[in-house]
């Protein structure tokens, strides 16, 4: 393996001590940094065995079935509660499952603001008052090209909107995720917090759009966005904002977090669309968690019959 014996040091390669020592110091520092950094990488990237499925929560009562549910086989509780993105708890898919337990979801109030009559803090109990919870088994498609079938429990967002009595100026809704560094690890400065998402009013009022408060008939686990998260099944997962503590009715389309991060990659609409690729990967197929073969991604995630009319005349290639 040794190619050639290194030549002995020549007299021409001699320098004064000071220069030499400086250089040596630099090299030692560089080596130390390398070692420290390498150790950090290995330490922080540990494999995924630490994922912990959510403990089972309180059973929700009087949950009604819904005609909007798919009859596809739902993913397992373990899958849904250990594999998702919730960057406030870390950037790995299992981070939310490990760090979300500290999130305090009771009591919970949602600040209602903007172009509406009922501004102010609305406790979650008031939001749920009079609501009939429904099982909504929906397909869920992440922008990262994986998907699941998730048995949410929730109620139509439209009902909540009506309670807020929006004015005619309310064309969009801006949602904000609760953010508190004490309860959320948010160990990386990967994205700006708090997380913000938005919907156009007609999207928000659509009967498929729900606020989910449960999973598999139980109270929704923290890692999946407790106590209340948005579900818009024809849109990519990043629209499904979690742990909402603020709802604001606005005139103009809000700047959602991922669009703010990379506008060329993530738009406002984020409708599932197999023919518009993410700039860095294809959206034509997806991996359903638990399956080996990739599925062909469906336009509007298979909800085209119900929602395509919302986008008549719009160039979905530009409005991605």
């Amino acid at each position: 393996m040794l190619i050639k014996r290194a030549a002995d040091i020549r007299s021409s390669e001699i320098t004064d001590k000071k220069l030499y020592l400086n250089r040596r110091e630099f090299i030692s520092a560089a080596a130390a940094t390398t070692a420290a950094v390498a150790a950090g990488v290995v330490g922080s990237e540990g494999l995924v065995q630490a994922a912990t499925p959510a403990p089972h929560g309180r059973k929700l009562e009087n949950v009604k079935p819904s005609a909007f549910s798919t009859d596809e086989k739902p993913n397992k509780w373990e899958e849904i509660t250990t594999y998702n993105n919730y960057y406030e708890f870390g950037i790995d898919k299992d981070s939310p499952s490990m760090f979300a337990r500290n999130l305090k979801t009771e009591p919970w109030t949602v600040a209602i603001d903007g172009e509406c009559a009922k501004k102010g803090n609305m406790p979650l109990e008031d939001i749920l008052k009079g609501e009939t919870l429904e099982d909504r088994i929906y397909r869920h498609r992440c922008v990262e090209a994986w998907s699941m079938v998730i048995p949410w429990v929730g109620f139509p967002l439209a009902n909540l909107i009506k309670k807020c009595e929006p004015t005619s100026k309310a064309k969009y809704i801006e949602f904000t995720t609760f953010f508190d560094t004490k309860q959320m690890s948010a160990r990386t400065s990967a994205i700006r917090y708090p997380y913000v998402e938005g919907l156009r009013m007609d999207e928000a009022m659509h009967p498929l759009t729900i606020m989910a408060v449960g999973l598999y008939g139980e109270v929704i686990p923290n890692q999946d966005g407790a106590p209340m998260r948005l579900v818009v099944p024809w849109k990519y997962g990043f629209k499904h904002i979690k742990s909402i503590n603020k709802i604001k009715f606005v005139e103009k389309a809000p700047l959602n977090t991922w669009q703010d991060q990379a506008a060329n990659e993530y738009g406002f609409y984020a409708n599932v669309n197999p023919s518009v690729d993410h700039p860095r990967w294809s959206q034509a197929t997806e991996r359903r968690i638990g399956e080996f073969l990739r599925r062909k991604t469906l336009m509007f995630n298979g909800y085209g019959d119900q929602v395509a009319s919302l986008y008549t005349g719009m160039d979905l290639r530009r409005n991605y």
């Binding site: 050639k4 001699i14 040596r24 630099f26 950094v37 073969l293």
Partner: protein, 254 residues
Amino acid sequence: MRAFRPPKVESSPLKLTDRAVRFGLKPIVFLASLGPFFYLIWAALTGNLSANPLSDLTNETGVWTLRFVCITLAITPVRKLTGWNALVKFRRMAGLYAFFYGTLHLLTYAIVDRFAGLDQAVDWVEAIGAGHLPGMTLVASTARGLTKSIGEDIYKRPFITIGFAAWLTMLPLAITSTTGWIRRLGGKRWNLLHRLVYLTGILGPLHYWWLVKADVNRPLTYAAVVAILLGTRVLWNRTRRSVAVPARAPATHA
């Protein structure tokens, strides 16, 4: 007065005989380097990966490739710093492990990302499920489909292009890693060729960087490690050149 070159450490703290390195340390390092490979197989078979094990296999093999590229690049600087010259005997192994994990990474991608998305994949699953081998027509059409699918991905997606290029830079190095090839090429040319690993070191973190959504810390870390490892070389070379030394072969400082 002291030597102006890699800091020469007079006596290394690790004085091992050639025999001890060859028959003791080397087999241990060889087996340890297979650790991640066997761990991944074990974890995949026992359900100890995440809910998306195929994605984990792709990611982990990629990350281990980067780690072995870094280890390979670290050998020369560490050898010079510590004066433990026997380290060079591990360079080929480290480099080949980088290629090994890189090839696993490429294969995983080809199978779980590309093959699994082909229409032909359904026929394969059916054939294997029914307990017989897929026919020649299916094999041929799969090969065509897979080539097209991977080719398009390499062409369309910069991070795939970069990743594939990084793997390509390792290919000739793995092939010419044998003693026979060193002899055939001659030390000087062989050394020159094997500087391609610097390019691997640059392309690897770039490939990673381009893949992530917003969390660039990890790719940045690898980029920083490579920058330091390549930086020391630049520094050493420059300080060497600044002193008028008659030109000569770079010897083993690659």
